[in-house]
Point group: none
Chain length 215, copies 4
DNA sequence: TATGAATGAGCATTCATTCAT
DNA sequence: AATGAATGAATGCTCATTCAT
């Protein structure tokens, strides 16, 4: 069926795939810029594709959003994994590790903010968090595993809860801040305080002194 | 406050006020039970009021939701104030104070969960957080003031940031948990970990030992 | 609430009712002239009414059609009752009675043909015959009662079956003829043969001779 | 019939023919199981054929349905012919002949019910009965001829009308019963009354007595 | 003031059909 | 000959809002 060396897609497969990508891109664009104007017709229009084509590839509006969520969270997850792997290689001090991770997570969240906000709100609105739940669980589990493997006695860690809480705390802080004080996201104090929150939770025994110096 | 000096409302004002209350009550009921069926027509119907009357008292759907948000947050704020005042009277140990407060806040959030989720999601979806922002700011400022007045050297506190971060972290944790693991809300570990998060942030110097005993 | 002498409807009730009638009239017009173009939007348009108004009065397309069926069958029923009552007064000879009734039913069916065809086909297509069934049952029951009260020993009559079979046979003959040989509907032979079918079933003992003379 | 003289179809003609058959089979399946889901796309899908191919063989949806009608009615016709021929060989008593035929026709109609209903409703809905008309005419003509050849003086028969009326009466009774009282189709009384209707029409001179004994 | 009839833009979705590959 | 991507008119329906009574 396919050429041996290059598993190139057929022309029509290419066309299909590119239509799909165009639709997803259009949906993402509308979702981040004008979220309450999101409608299948508008997605199709903005994608320069007929509404019929849209429904050829997606069974409905929700399916588009689901795919977007899936890609979004998987993207975040792999970024997080890469960052953790890298940091863990370079840093053995748990405190520095947390700092690095916090820095990374803040940057990541800021980058993805609009999207996360829109998707999150869409599914909360819909009352269907199943997908989010499943993907969030995945993220939480993987981070938990990584953490477990690098565990030092100093790191406070209850496998059932710690990452779960931190995950939602960070999401809440970032989304909340972005909604109410977007300017603060780029304030160095934002990162400093987030680090403090994380360290305070994960390394509860560390003295205040250390922290003051960091800030 | 004003009851002594202000003349009583006229009969028609009373009627107006009761219409307003009926509308708001109906809106709240729909919002918590069937949020995506929220529509002005339905609110009017459920309130036993004509759609025309609804528009006599509120310039539009958003205005109803705004009033709901306002009342909701003001309700939360005054509950928080009362709780803090009371706790501060009875407790001087900052650690115990935090614990008490955490316990209270978890109960409060659980009680208000559906409403908070619905309102939050509605406004996030709308992209208009102005109202939330203003009211959240108020809450944050008042808590900040209270905290300031009870400050002990042990309490980590950067007036610009601390309450702000904690506020959003808690909201994020509670909303996130309610959406993805509602069962965990009533797990004692939930409160324990939330207390840990708060203490770790506010009382960073405390030793791990203490905490272990608490748990 | 209402004036004592004239239970006149209020202006707004009048307006409502006339909108409803307009919608039904438009639906009936489309149904008989251009049945596969029947759509809620077209009904509204042809009725000179906004689509919103249509949905204010009818929960959906089916409801409009149901009301049409109801009115249609009730109209037929009362016409049939009137005719039977009248004939029964004037005629005691069962044979003449059947003839009169057959004549009447043929005229009635011819008059209502387009409508019956359209409604019938619509609901068959929908697979929902519940309404038709209920109303047909009513018609059948009432005719059965009348027949029972005028019963002579000569009339073949099994209450469970006779009217039921005749009812559907006549409907089938009339609809079938109208679809395939509309010209035959006005042929005197059509009536003659239908009378024969009915007599043969209801008065099986009558000799052929009689019939020949009638024709 | 033609197999000896006609050259065999080419391979591609074979393939074409089998594609056509597959499409028709799929259409028939959908039509009987899920009639309002009938769509060209679905037919193609269920047939395992591309929508493009479907349009290669049929100019449109209606053409598929027409072919189905044609085959369906031709099938019924030949079954009826076979039954009549057989009965006529074995029975000379017109009364018994009618009984046998009635029995056969009831079984046949019950067997074909779903299909007949679906096709009938589809074309009535469409307002285009041309095809049905032509084929029904054929059926009627052939039955008329057969009847004519077996005619006895006892059988009431006006060549223009008798079979035509009976044909539509039976169709009406069977379709109507199936729609509103499907349970009655298998009730022995159903057949008995249908026989009565037919005999009463075709053999009007027969005495009631005879019939009572039959029942 | 209160009512509720009326509006119509907008939405999610289906489906017969065309045509480039 | 076969494929299936693409089309877009059409459909049933919702809902915020206006305005005559």
């Amino acid at each position: 069926m396919k050429k041996l060396l290059k598993p190139r897609k057929s022309a029509s497969q290419d066309r299909s795939q590119s239509t799909i990508e165009t639709i997803l891109a259009a949906a993402a664009r509308i979702l981040t810029n004008d979220p309450d104007r999101l409608s299948t017709n508008r997605i199709a229009e903005r994608a320069g594709v007929s509404i019929g084509s849209l429904y050829q590839y997606f069974p409905g509006k929700e399916a588009i959003l689901s795919e977007l969520v899936k890609r979004f969270i998987e993207g975040e997850l792999s970024a997080i994994e890469r960052s953790l792997a890298e940091s863990a290689e370079q840093e053995s001090d748990p405190e520095r590790l947390i700092e690095k991770f916090a820095e990374f997570i803040v940057q990541l969240k800021i980058k993805n903010l609009k999207m996360e906000r829109a998707l999150f709100s869409y599914f909360v609105h819909l009352g269907d968090m199943e997908l989010f739940r499943k993907l969030d669980d995945q993220v939480i589990n993987r981070i938990t595993l990584i953490l477990e493997s690098r565990r030092t006695p100093e790191i406070h860690y209850d496998p059932e809860w710690t990452v779960f809480l931190l995950f939602h705390a960070i999401r809440g802080v970032v989304i909340g801040t972005s909604l109410q004080r977007p300017d603060r996201l780029s304030d160095p104090a934002f990162k400093r305080e987030l680090v403090m929150l994380m360290k305070g939770y994960l390394l509860p025994g560390k003295s205040r002194l250390t922290r003051s110096l960091e800030a």
